[in-house]
Symmetry: C2
Subunit: 107 residues, 2 copies
DNA sequence: ACGTAATATTGCAATATTACGATGATGTAT
DNA sequence: ATACATCATCGTAATATTGCAATATTACGT
């Protein structure tokens, strides 16, 4: 017990849950929002902006990156993060398609 | 440590995270999907359909209901669940509006 | 009132997540 | 080479989540 019984659900359902999990923490939403608002990309500024430790921010960035939402390019020692807009829209579409299907034939 | 530092984020961001959290478990997605597919409403069939214990399903239903997504009406001893489509669309819009804003001015 | 069916709640064990300090790796400047 | 800055990873403590058995609770039929 304690662990989600992922294996009893379809791939499609698990994938949607996986996406939602990324957005299920305010820090990650704030990070995504902040990154998207910067003209160029950013780096360690996220730490100051959000107010969590560098280690914690780095962890959250990994989670966000794991579903392909980030482009991170090093410029010297600084890493500049940027949204992968194509992937972002892909996920957005997939979520919205689930929402649409769900509302269709409801009582 | 261990707990999310909710208080350092804006209400709007925390709300979106709250919504996402509900969808961040495959069982809850499966439940929502199943409910929406039923002609009339349903009840204890969810337990058989999903394959988790009655206690666990009941818990998940509470989480889904806590953000106003369920209309549950008793018909005798049976409780028939139904999607609150208005609320559902409201949440859908709010999520999508965040997505839209985020992709606007990206590098 | 009693037994049964349907759902909710409680208590607990297993696991996951969040957060941070410390450490490591890499790059820049002096 | 040394010092510093940036970011990732490891280890660990605190807390949250998941899942179930056991136990309520509620409604129905007899």
């Amino acid at each position: 017990m304690g662990a989600s019984k992922v294996y009893i659900f379809s791939d499609q359902i698990n994938e949607i849950a996986q996406f939602a999990k990324v957005f299920a923490h305010p820090a990650r939403i704030a990070i995504i929002k902040f990154i998207s608002e910067q003209e160029g990309c950013i780096c360690n500024d996220i730490v100051e902006e959000i107010g969590l430790s560098q280690a914690t921010i780095s962890q959250h960035l990994t989670v966000i990156g794991n579903i392909g939402l980030l482009k991170g390019t090093f410029e010297g020692k600084k890493k500049c993060y940027c949204l992968n807009v194509e992937r972002y829209n892909e996920i957005r579409m997939q979520l919205d398609s689930f929402f649409k299907k769900t509302t269709l034939n409801c009582c």
